[in-house]
Amino acid sequence: MLIMAACIGYIMTKDEIRAIFIEEATEIIEKLDIDIINYEEDSENKELLNELFRGVHTLKGSANSFGFTRLGGFVHLFEDVLDHYRDSDVAVPANVIDIFLNAVDVIKETLWLEVNGDEGVPPNYDSTLESIKHLLENKEVVNEFVEMVNLAEEFGEIDATPVQTESVSQIVEEATAPKAALEIPAATDGKLLYKIILKLDNDIYHRGYDHGHFFQLLSEKGNILQSRWTLPKIAKIESFDAEVNYWGEVELYLESHESIASIEEVFLFVEPEEFSITLMGNEESAQPPALVETRSALNVQTATQPEAAPAAQILAIEKQPAENERIESKKVESKTVKSEKAEDEKFREAPDAELQRRKDDKRSFVKIDTQKLDELFDSVGEMVITQNFVAENDEIKNLNSPKLTRTIENLSKITRLIQNRVMALRMVPVHDTFDKMKRVARDASRKVDKDIELRIEGEETEVDKTMVDSLSDPLIHIIRNAIDHGIEATSEERIAQGKNPKGRVLLRAYHKAGNIAIEVRDDGRGINRDKVYAKALERGIIAKDDVLSDQQIYGLIMQAGFSTADVISDISGRGVGLDVVRSSIEKLQGKVEIDSKVGEGSVFTILLPLTLAIIDGMIVKSAGDMFIIPTLSVVESFIPTKNIVHTARNKGEFVNLRGEMIPVMRLNEILGINTNRPEIWESTLICVESEDGKYALLIDDLVGRQQVVIKPLGKALAKLEGIMGGAVMGNGDIALILNVDALFKIKVN
């Protein structure tokens, strides 16, 4: 439906429409998971179930319009189950929530099979489909029973005997009888007879369509002989809205010489589920085959409805059953009302709400290609550089014009304002990423059979879009790790330690010193420092005489292949998860800090820069060149006194910084610029924190601190070791941005 709307404005290529579909479908599917988990937490909230239903309904429409019948067929059944629960007063049981979540997994996999044009279905497709069908079958029995009990009560038959299945089918047949009672017209002069069913959504008038419009187009293809209009429910005049389509199914018979394909052209812009064309006597259908099969399986009424019967009045509105038939007729009518109402509302309420949501979205948001955003950001970056260039230009400065200086200052302010605003365009809340973790926590806790509560805070904290996309995997690893290893194995173990039997994991985002901090805190058993140290020693990751802080020791658990887990589960414990976390976060120019207390729990904190496009850096000079050290890596800068400088044989130079021996590395030597060796106590040292620990970088001069726009280096310089990018300074000079982890490795190697 969304895609059709996109088509109305201008002609899009098939690939463009397909790309939009994939993007939208992916978004919807991601949200399904979240909606299910949210509903599980708040099962009284029917709006969550409606939201879930709307997502599935939209997905079904889009999938069928692309001929993705495996996806469309599956989603169709899933939609029916959801429709049942949102229409029922019964809360969705936990085992059904599991089926829902499995269904979402199948939908995800099926979508990609369809998109990639692969054959077959995902492994759990059939079993999940069976579970869904089973739910639907049970639903019908339960509904019929409830229906009959209600009717019996209504007519004083309180002794509600359980209803036999024969009476159910009898009711179905009788409910459709009035419609079937009308004789089907016959085609004349050798024309073909088509049965066309219109089941238009309630927003058709808003979409510019009307039954009248289709009748007119069809009458141009042949003769309309008869039509049967079903009206499931109508509002009284005070609440009647002329712009809402109240009509349910409209069945019409058309005689024509035209082919089925020609008839189908009338419905070019209508969703596949909104119409069907059947060539009578041939049963050729213009509907996607899978959909037809699905509908047949689902809706016995439609499949078994007798097509011809003696002519009779079909108007049910004035029908007064004889006294002795009254109860039975009431049952029939009530059943019809119920089933028609359910079916009608299914196609009615969701699009209505969706329409409103779409309108709201249009008003509030504009989708922009991130590439265009990057281009805009680049241009603004150039503008900032040029503005700095003007501000620093000696010739302009020498003019000594207060007016000109004021204008340049104003220009500078406006430029910064624009830069900040453009920056804000890239920022998105971590909300969606955090929401996804609910499913991760649920699945992981089920797998290890632990009762765990995931609490989320600060989900409105905004992070650069590029980083949000890359945050999911590291967070999944950390949360799984917390659940698998952090939280105690049993509730009894927790109770014995005076803790709540339910394990708690807190996922929290906040700003910290100009960076974004994302914290995963558990109240589990904590990390055993000594065990980690011993393991690292045993594996040769550290040497016996290495002096390590607690944080450095905890950091060892993120080394490749390091695992202290006694039992390796299928969730974590292979020593690869946390290694992936570290490298993923480093790619984002961030770092992971670990803190822990035995018996109280652990905290994994991911520290990220606000954006990947701008870096807050310390500008330093070495051998006459300018370099930038990311402030995130800088611990402190200082000029050492001679008495704290030490040289160890074969181990290099050190400074004793408040009792901690820190290796000194000369930047000019590491980068091979020159071999000058000024005295350490006459130079400036910048203490930086790398993944391998702290070290002091010897430079000539500290120029200051500045935010700079990161410029990628060209292909020729891209592999320059120890450098992560470049920046154009105010005077037009280029400064290289240092990668402190890589510098350390160069030195060590």
Binding site: P178, Y205, F240
Partner: protein, 90 residues
């Protein structure tokens, strides 16, 4: 659309905009309208919203006479016979 005493006469070619206006017209006058009749050409209809409005009126005032509904069928020259299947609770 004309009103002749207590009989409202409407035409089938009313478009959606006209149906909206018709609803606004009828609602405050429903008390004294006794019958709604179709006049003019009976070949096509313009908007299905008109039919829905007539059913809404019938539901609001069951005693009102609307032949198109009461007779259960509407015969149109271009669109054949139109039949209604109405399931709403009354």
């Amino acid at each position: 659309m004309t009103i002749d005493g207590d009989v409202l006469e409407i035409e089938l070619d009313m478009d959606l905009g006209e149906v909206i206006e018709l609803k606004k017209f009828v609602e405050p006058r429903l008390e004294y309208i006794e019958s709604i009749e179709i006049v003019g050409e009976r070949d096509i209809f313009a908007s299905s919203s008109l039919f829905a409005l007539l059913f809404s009126i019938k539901k609001s005032k069951p005693e009102i006479r609307i032949p198109m509904i009461d007779e259960g069928v509407l015969k149109l020259a271009h669109y054949g016979s139109v039949h209604w299947i109405y399931h709403d609770e009354r």
